[in-house]
Symmetry: C2
């Protein structure tokens, strides 16, 4: 596609589709949509389009394909890899699904609901609760992220261990293709082997193959038993062995298993209001264990106590506490979920969202620490995350007193060290955040040529005009 | 591609790749590979190639693409839609993975194993057991079907309710593309958001996009508690309400919920050696409930008894029995799994593998019975299957004394009636068996043009020479 700035005539043709009341053209109002969370990218765009229906999305993409106008879909703008940020040259228009936020249908007996792409995740969770069901996807940004973005990034979060990523939580999709054609794949079926899996191709495509305007989402029975335990232990190896006991004992009742380092407890108790160290004793590592049962509250209690007994007997656990109330359970999760924010007052933070096979987590942690500390003495590694998924948010805070800018300038250098070890262990450089702009070229560098080539062929087959979130995931 | 018969020169070039000892050219030996289970299709082929390595598969497909020679991948030849059967014109070669039956690796701590495409499903189950793990995929044909076929058809079976289809049981793939290029996607990660989901595109593609030569498969803890209950009840509506109670009570401990009609019990007790009616009383419908627990045997017992109590109190259950031994539990499952075979002595059987949203099963059963009986008075409907998945094997046995050939001649007519109602309910005409040849044209007729068009674009992007199992799933 050509990269001319959209003419005022073209702007008015796009505006006419949604109506003047449903566009944003004031640079002041557009500004917040041009930067992502971490400020890694700053884009430019003359216009934000806010369609109110699937047909309007279709009309926008039809015109975009005809005129070679690049469209960047945006929902909650909470992505962490720049996938939702337009290019800096001002040639791309933003398509925001915020007005398409209707729950079209909800069927508790069939355990599903149909949500539009602009629905805020927390609203979908509430809708499920209102009929006595659970929608398990849970993220730090759930109050502002939206279903279209959750699907386009195959969002993960803290409940993946038992319920899976967004891909496992979706039965069907409605997608507007870059050509403007509408694919109605809003199926409500658990089993449907009728041709190629288009649904899972759109999920995780980060808006490069089409715009997800609606989805059929799975609901689950609400657990009746819930226990949260907080465990102090000596090492990731001890945590891994405790995880194996937990998954053998609890099976799918194990709904969370989060690893945290001592420094993470120090950061959160220091900077996050109301967070206290749950244990009187000090330990090098901690695990938050979440157990949910559907048959009875007693089962969850029994499992939690049995797990701690087994862990103590095996010498894996140094000290542990079980939340005695819903409030205490919430407080433990609040500490875990504050761990990213708690790093900000400590200066610059170089971040990684990586995964390795679960059994290799201890070896990865050891090798990564060695590599990072050799390159940057004094670096403060705050590596925490979803041990049960093999997914670690490997964050590095700057040495005390270091210059923030100079520290952040070494982002790519530290990435190379950590990702090198990840790949050596057969891991992934993006466990749940996606590729976007941030990791596009690195992905092309580490993956076999044929894999990138197949993605490119799919991209061209779906988006011949190249107008759909261009430059994200793979280069043109 | 052209459809000339392969020349003897070409035959010898293909033969040279695997060695003369690893081809089958004797028509007698080839014959059984040219017909599928139900005898619906009869193909022809001059040669069966049995490569021993991924590299040999690659060499075969490279030569096939260069020479425009169609290749039909075949594993256990247990498919039910003709996907593994070559065309009748004798132009297509069969590629059998039977020699690639190695378990390359097994890692109980990481809960996974790596199996080649030619591994027999039962052997993979045994390998998992040998390290104290469960590989949950379970099918009637598990003694002969192979992993490559299970993946290519996204196989389902009786454990989908708790563990999912083959797609949910696979972490990574090794695939040889139609061009001969090898894609190594043998990842062992639970979370990996790095670009388009190629894995799930190959799974369920029925060998039209490439040959799956190896896969990373998920393992699970072996349940310690197991209970099987057999329930007599009045209607599919009662069964549905019991299912809702069961899933609320047991959550993922509910590992099977199979619906069976009275006539199915009569067929199996009449024709299957050793099968007895488990209940002294007669009921219109039956449900087999399977419960597995990972924490303790007591939990499974408690859940089974609690479910029957709830069902009796609610007036859903007329009579019920819980298997008192492993042998009794096996016998109940044997009855359910014999239900297809038991129809053969009753004459012709017109079959459907359909799914509808779980909540619509009673309405579907009522409408389908009305439609079928109106068209064919005396037809004996033996509709059974995985109620918990919304998946019914809607089989119609010929009226007593009817002419078998005349009855089977009405296959398409009865399909049209049943599938029409399925579609009306938002269902699928192939829940787990796939499309193959049998349902290809029907799929094109019922799906939006854009959906078939997207599949065709993917097919062309992956298989430009059109040599990979041509004519299956979609027409060229």
């Amino acid at each position: 596609m050509d990269a001319r700035l959209p003419s005022s005539d073209l702007i008015s043709r796009f505006t006419a589709i949604v109506g003047a009341a449903n566009v944003v053209s004031d640079p002041q109002e557009i500004a917040p949509r041009l930067v992502e969370n971490r400020g890694l990218y700053k884009g430019a765009s003359p216009l934000v389009l806010k369609p109110g229906s699937t047909q309007e999305v279709s009309a926008i993409l039809t015109l975009a394909s005809e005129t070679g106008t690049a469209i960047v879909p945006q929902t909650g703008n909470t992505g962490l890899v720049g996938g939702q940020t337009p290019s800096a040259d001002g040639t791309q228009l933003i398509l925001s699904l915020e007005r398409m936020n209707r729950i079209r249908d909800i069927d508790p007996l069939a355990n599903l609901l149909v949500a539009e792409g602009g629905c805020i995740l927390a609203d979908v969770q509430k809708a499920a609760e209102s009929v006595g069901r659970l929608f398990p996807l849970s993220l730090g940004s759930e109050g502002s992220c939206r279903i279209g973005g959750n699907l386009s990034t195959n969002a993960g979060g803290t409940a993946v261990l038992a319920y899976g990523n967004m891909r496992q939580l979706c039965l069907g999709l409605e997608v507007v293709l870059p050509t403007g054609e509408i694919w109605n794949g809003l199926r409500r079926l658990k089993k449907d082997n009728t041709g190629y899996d288009l649904r899972d191709l759109f999920i995780g495509a980060e808006g490069t193959l089409g715009v997800i305007t609606a989805a059929v989402l799975k609901l689950f029975p609400q657990p009746v038993g819930h226990q949260v335990a907080f465990v102090g232990l000596a090492s990731p190896q001890h945590a891994l062995e405790l995880f194996e006991k937990a998954s053998n004992l609890c099976g799918t009742a194990l709904t969370g298993f989060e690893l945290m380092p001592r420094i993470g407890i120090e950061f959160t108790t220091r900077h996050i209001a109301g967070v206290r160290d749950p244990l009187p004793t000090v330990h090098d590592w901690y695990v938050l264990v979440d157990i949910s049962t559907s048959d009875s509250a007693e089962t969850a209690e029994r499992l939690a106590h049995a797990l701690l007994e087994q862990g103590l007997e095996a010498g894996l656990i140094e000290n542990a506490v079980i939340a005695a109330s819903v409030a205490q359970a919430k407080a433990l999760w609040h500490m875990r979920e504050s761990m990213s924010d708690a790093q900000k007052p400590e200066g610059g933070s170089i971040k990684h969202d990586v995964s390795v096979p679960v059994s290799k987590i201890p070896a990865f942690m050891a090798a990564a620490e060695e590599g990072v500390m050799a390159a940057m003495p004094g670096a403060r590694i705050c590596a925490f995350g979803h041990l049960g998924d093999g997914n670690i948010h490997y964050n590095i805070s700057q040495p005390v007193g270091a210059d923030k800018a100079a520290f952040l300038a070494r982002w790519r250098e530290m990435n190379a060290i950590v990702h090198g070890i990840v790949l050596e262990k057969g891991g992934s450089i993006s466990a749940e955040h996606g590729i976007g702009q941030l990791k596009r070229d690195e992905l092309a560098a580490i993956r076999p040529e044929i894999e990138i080539e197949l993605m490119r062929r799919i991209k061209h087959a779906f988006d011949p005009a190249g107008i759909m979130n261009p430059g994200k995931v793979i280069s043109a």
